[in-house]
Symmetry: C2
């Protein structure tokens, strides 16, 4: 961030009055340009004992499997965003949506919010996916999952299924995924 998006003047970095951290401030119109985390919303579509995953057609982690998810847009609810992403990435409609899992990923300034839902009819392949498919627990391609949060959600989901209890959890991603895919911390900021 170098220029004021309101007036075009060159920004300066300073700690504003009554604040305690550096912000981008416009010396001309005095606007403070705050930078805040973004919300990624998604859905775990369930069909019987299977879940619907998509294989990514785009970077990062092209070719790896993920849960339909993407950046929440202005003007929508978290659920509306999760349903939109499920349509866009898996051409799927779902029903019976329930809040299921939140993640903090502070080093990339993101919050993830996932719903569980039942697949309602067919599914297909959106423009950001190479393929979509239903997987039972035994068939999950654990070493080909795109992100640690996907490993966590799927691990927890199949464990929760056995108990019939689906508590809403919040945490940073677990190191489980790194073990599955041989990921090296600090070399990939695009979790």
């Amino acid at each position: 961030m170098k220029y004021c998006s309101d007036c075009g003047a060159k920004l300066v970095e300073q700690i504003p009055a009554n604040d305690d951290r550096l912000r981008y401030v416009c010396p001309q119109c005095e606007i403070i340009h705050y930078q805040n985390p973004k919300v990624v919303v998604g859905c775990l579509p369930v069909a019987g004992d299977k879940v619907l995953l998509c294989r990514r057609a785009i970077a990062p982690r092209m070719g790896y499997w993920t849960i339909p998810a993407g950046f929440m847009e202005n003007g929508e609810t978290m659920l509306a965003g999760a349903l939109r992403e499920t349509r866009e990435e898996a051409a799927a409609e779902v029903c019976d949506e329930v809040l299921y899992r939140l993640f903090d990923i502070p080093h990339i300034n993101q919050v993830y919010v996932f719903y569980r839902a039942n697949l309602n009819g067919g599914f297909g392949i959106g423009p950001e996916s190479l393929e979509s498919a239903l997987f039972s627990e035994a068939d999950i391609p654990w070493s080909e999952l795109a992100f640690p949060i996907v490993t966590d959600v799927l691990t927890e989901f199949f464990a929760d299924r056995k108990t019939g209890e689906y508590p809403v959890r919040v945490s940073t991603p677990s190191p489980l995924w790194a073990k599955h895919v041989g990921w090296e911390p600090d070399t990939d900021k695009t979790l």
Copy 2:
């Protein structure tokens, strides 16, 4: 948003390739400047049968009572942000934090995330508060609450206390608050 924050060029509004909505795009460096919802994080500090509220010293809703909360910052988790806001607004430390309540407020592009926690020692008055105080259910100043989400969280909390179950809920704010404070929809965008 009028100028590119990266190069200072005048932005244009257009629908980028593979997109379906208008974005601010820089014709010079081709960056797409996405605008996304912000996350507000907060905490409901509990002490015995009472909860800690703060009376706002700043707009909007100056002089009205609220739960310690504020914008989540880059580089922090939701809980870290909630604890920071609790320190800043109520000079309070808490413990035993549990995720409790999420709200969508799509017309102002905000998501709220509240934790429940136990007050851990004393409390005070931060620079954005006029006073802080503990309230039992019978003493809650229902007609002087700052925002509908505060009415909702407190209503649900005192009901949940009776059952001992605190499910994690997500919704848009209920119209309860409007009834308490005589709020007119569409005249106040700063919920």
